[in-house]
Symmetry: C2
Subunit: 392 residues, 2 copies
């Protein structure tokens, strides 16, 4: 285990009927004029918009609206939000939606509290010191942004997708009502499940030794996701299964299970370039990359891949043939993604071999000197291209 | 899963050599005049006192000392601490020690910020609204107070032991350096391990259904404790094992694994009366009670006891005989406590049958109308007496 410094201050208000508390909770945090930030309008179809605005009005809160957040949220809308916050003296931002809406709200929060350009925090590595408080009402279990210190924004000009991680951008609260996810289409439910699974997976595959407790916590979350995924897809209105998936999605990315270890995250970085290239859903892109990343790197730490196969997917261990056990685990991973409706090849998501070189070259490097991405097994551009070929 | 409202704001600074950060971290939280609170002086023997005071002095912090906290920390010392904080204008409390020292520091923090008597929060159920900030340097992995919202104080006059749970008393930070626990005697290490195990155990045995994720998180922590307990007792200076046990101890009681469920806690309430009766170490008392509580209640939810046996202690499941499987799990629990040097009977800790009636009568009731304790299987005084008889 390596040393760590961990704090997650987000308050989670979880369960059936909790949206009615939103207005009074915002008042606890001093909010009086709220920017209500949302996406393409699905919250107007499923009743969430009405419930939230009713709760805010009942608490005497003034509402300023900004909808229209897209998947891979855009810098231009963030800038518009910052302008509105200043003009209207907004003192609290409420994100109602999934990860894209929350990431956009976090960006508006730090941007509105800063003299310079908000893109400094994303493109230039500047650390934000202040933010407007951000609360969330989550309607998609996937990204984990509702309990994370991360935000990813895409620049409209250059299709540059850049992350910000900062202690100050944890939401002050998040309301998680599993019933809000009943109306999510099966494909989006599947993409969300793939995304949250891979958040844990990336932390699980570490080169750090002696990480018993966090290994087991990771396995606990991954097994829960696998066991409940089929239930929510078979019965979209199964409250218990939706609740397990929703809480798992937050714990998958709130940094707790990454304490004392260094995650890999090469698959995430490769996938970011697929999304940038072709507006692929993040979970779908991950489902294509991950099993092929596994095939490419599994011999680097065979015992860890055997442990993954046995403990997460209940693969029967062949003690005389660890390679075979590891490969069965990789197949189980592939089969799981297929079972939740995820694509298996780059061709299925419209990405072809002629583009592999360009994509591999664009992947953000963790180590600029060595030119590699990933921590479990650092990969150069040629390695990334091999993985893309395995995934074609 | 039931609805919940969860927030844990404690910052954890974990690892080898982290004590040197204590002074600068206190300054981040605005501390300038610190009450340094500790126990019987073991921190002077193992070098922790020197390291901490050096760090505080280097940060230009003024130190006021109050040592002498006993196991089952006393109200009289809390009152003395409150008086000192007022007289010396203390603006931060640093607890250096284990759960007793931290619980005492939390009591001083709320008492110093309140016009009335601090005992109101413990005996009269008043909710504290303000506190001096409390930080900790943990030297015993056991109680989990370093990341919890709990404090238990014993009134000197009546041997009344009373708990306070409040959002405001989470420490602002805790420094966890596993090396500080190397010098802990084997018996105290064992008591700490029993204590942390039972914190998870009490949450695990719930009557709430559909709690897949938190079941698995509980199992992850319990398995880690079991697997690393022998390692720390065999080799007290095994950093990796000490680190697993220390982080497990905090996660065991920080409320995360209790989200969405209602724990039992009858064994804790019964044990509190043993400690009150005979100054028994908390972990030792729990080790005596828990396996006998299990024997008394296991038929109430046999599948949960089978799950515990199979998943936590790797008991080979007899599918045709769940009773047998559950009983093997109970035996494994008993054997584990014995393997870490814990007593098995009340006689060994000096408590005899003539006192069982009095002890059973004193146990704090959760349900005053029905007169019962425990949530998994509510127990009346006659039930508690039966458990004490099983434990004689």
């Amino acid at each position: 285990m390596i040393n760590f410094d961990y704090k997650n201050p987000t308050r989670i208000i979880f369960g059936k009927g909790t949206i009615v508390q939103t207005g009074s909770v915002i008042k606890e945090y001093g909010g009086t004029r709220v920017l209500l930030h949302f996406g393409g309008g699905s919250i107007k179809g499923n009743g969430v918009y009405d419930e939230v605005t009713k709760s805010l009005k009942a608490a005497g809160i003034e509402i300023v609206e900004l909808g229209g957040v897209q998947p891979n949220p855009r810098l231009s809308l963030v800038r518009e939000g910052i302008k509105i916050c200043r003009e209207k003296n907004v003192d609290f931002i409420l994100a109602v939606g999934g990860g894209s809406v929350i990431d956009s709200a976090k960006a508006i929060g730090v941007g509105a509290s800063y003299e310079g350009d908000v893109w400094d925090f994303y493109a230039a590595g500047k650390v934000p010191q202040k933010t407007l408080p951000v609360g969330t009402v989550l309607t998609i279990a996937a990204a984990g942004s509702e309990m994370s210190w991360s935000s990813v924004i895409t620049n409209d000009d250059g299709a540059l997708k850049r992350p910000l991680d900062a202690q100050i951008i944890y939401p002050v609260f998040s309301v998680l009502d599993p019933e809000t996810t009943y109306s999510l289409p099966a494909y989006q439910t599947g993409c969300g499940i793939a995304d949250m699974f891979v958040h844990v997976f990336e932390r699980y595959f570490t080169a750090v030794k002696n990480v018993d407790l966090t290994d087991r916590l990771c396995e606990a979350i991954m097994k829960t996701i696998v066991n409940n995924a089929k239930r929510v897809l078979d019965a979209p209105g199964d409250y218990n299964a939706r609740a397990e998936i929703m809480w798992a999605g937050s714990l998958a990315h709130n940094n707790l299970v990454g304490t004392g270890r260094i995650g890999d995250f090469a698959s995430h970085m490769i996938e970011h370039e697929l999304s940038g290239f072709n507006d692929v859903a993040h979970g779908a892109g991950l489902a294509v990359i991950v099993p092929n990343w596994m095939k490419f790197v599994y011999r680097h730490d065979l015992p860890r891949f055997v442990q993954f196969a046995v403990r997460v997917f209940d693969v029967e261990q062949d003690f005389h043939n660890p390679d075979e056990t590891a490969l069965r685990g990789i197949k189980a991973m592939r089969d799981f993604f297929s079972s939740i409706g995820m694509p298996a090849t780059l061709a299925e998501i419209g990405i072809h071999e002629k583009d592999f070189g360009a994509i591999a070259g664009k992947v953000k490097k963790f180590d600029e000197v060595k030119g590699t991405v990933g921590n479990f097994r650092p990969l150069g551009p040629a390695d990334v291209e091999e993985i893309l070929k395995l995934a074609k």
